[in-house]
């Protein structure tokens, strides 16, 4: 599951209500990516929002809001789900990162984040843009993940302990008889 490759393809999802070609205005493309190989219950999910300004003017007061992580389903670990970047210069991109942890496992539909921005210095109203949607993904339960990927050290240690008697008992028997014969050998040599 190479999320970043799949979702980069969706990066060109945009909503611009009006913008003429020659007009000096900012146009934003917003992508939302999950930078995870697997989504696991109670483990970090890294979400990266990248804002590309493809317009010929700077976008001002770019506000990224993501309401798709309900507190019942996700613990917010770090980063801000509601952040404002003062200025995005033309033909540049900026990124913003949020880390969350899912509380439950199962399917989850990752929907888009909302972006509000001012496309011109003197723009009266704010522009609205929606980010790309990572889409539905499965969140694996921690038990299943651990079964597959943990180092199983305890399991192997238990196995070693269980195999120990079948190795140690014959060895001990052999060793005791060996030392007995050596003792006998020593006593016979003395005579």
């Amino acid at each position: 599951m190479k999320w970043h490759i799949i979702f980069a393809a969706f990066a060109a999802f945009l909503l611009v209500t009006y913008a003429e070609e020659e007009e000096e205005a900012a146009r934003l493309l917003v992508s939302k990516q999950l930078l995870n190989k697997y989504l696991v219950e109670n483990m970090d999910i890294v979400i990266k929002y990248t804002v590309y300004n493809v317009g010929n003017a700077a976008a001002l007061e770019v506000e990224i809001t993501d309401n798709s992580f309900h507190p019942d389903h996700f613990t917010h670990v770090s980063g801000e789900l509601n952040a404002r970047i003062d200025r995005v210069p033309p033909y540049t991109n900026v990124s913003h990162i949020v880390v969350v942890r899912p509380r439950k496992f199962g399917y989850f539909n990752f929907t888009s984040a909302e972006v509000l921005y001012r496309h011109k210095e003197d723009a009266g109203s704010l522009q609205f843009a929606a980010s790309s949607e990572p889409g539905e993904a499965i969140i694996v339960s921690f038990r299943d993940y651990d079964k597959q990927f943990s180092s199983h050290v305890i399991d192997w240690a238990a196995f070693a302990v269980m195999t120990l008697p079948s190795l140690a008992i014959p060895f001990a028997l052999w060793y005791s008889s060996k030392s007995k014969y050596e003792k006998l050998l020593k006593t016979t040599k003395k005579h």
């Binding site: 190479k2 999320w3 970043h4 930078l35 995870n36 190989k37 697997y38 989504l39 696991v40 483990m43 970090d44 890294v46 990266k48 506000e63 990224i64 809001t65 670990v77 770090s78 980063g79 801000e80 509601n82 952040a83 404002r84 970047i85 003062d86 200025r87 995005v88 900026v94 990124s95 913003h96 990162i97 949020v98 880390v99 993940y145 990927f149 180092s151 199983h152 050290v153 399991d155 192997w156 196995f159 070693a160 190795l167």
Partner: protein, 176 residues
């Protein structure tokens, strides 16, 4: 692993220039989170949060951050209006799991004026480090866990081989 590193910060006092729009004597409280367990991640995330306090109560300044020569936006919290005279910002970036280094990361914060000076220095081919940042915060990354060094299966096979080798070699020594 809710590791929240308390990062120590070095304050560089504001220059004595009296401008209404520059932050005087900045004080910063920083907290950070690094995704240390990178077994299921493709990129390591670094997120830092700053609460900046200026002695002259400046609020509406734009800040820029720089880490390892990469310039990053300092995203402001939308809800920072309720904090009086405090500027709450987040600086976040990602690095490839294979390339992320451990150790100290210097996060330099610049205001508009200093950032413009840096860009001017870069244009003129001068050393951009001559511009003093507003605040430098050090983030320590203790290292990223990419999974166990050796598989326990492999270790078990090696141990079994060792035991059987010693057993057979001593047996042949006895029979010889």
């Amino acid at each position: 692993m809710m590791n929240r590193f308390i990062i120590f910060s070095i304050l560089i006092c504001g220059i004595s220039e009296i401008f209404a729009e520059t932050c005087q004597k900045p004080e910063v409280i920083a907290s950070a989170y690094v995704t240390e367990d990178a077994t299921i991640l493709t990129n390591v995330a670094f997120t830092t949060q700053f609460v900046l306090k200026c002695s002259n109560g400046v609020k509406g300044i734009t800040l820029y951050a720089e880490v390892d020569g990469k310039s990053l936006p300092a995203a402001r919290l939308s809800s920072d209006n309720k904090y009086q005279n405090l500027i709450k910002i987040v600086v976040s970036w990602t690095e490839d799991v294979k390339k992320a280094r451990s150790g100290d990361y210097n996060i330099k914060l610049y205001d508009d004026e200093r950032y413009a000076a840096i860009r001017k220095a870069l244009r003129n081919g001068e050393d951009p480090n001559s511009v003093k940042p507003l605040v430098v915060v050090v983030l320590n990354n203790p290292g990223i866990y990419r999974g166990p060094w050796i598989n326990s299966e492999l270790l078990a096979v090696l141990l079994a081989a060792l035991v059987s080798y010693s057993a057979f070699s001593s047996k042949f020594k006895l029979l010889a």
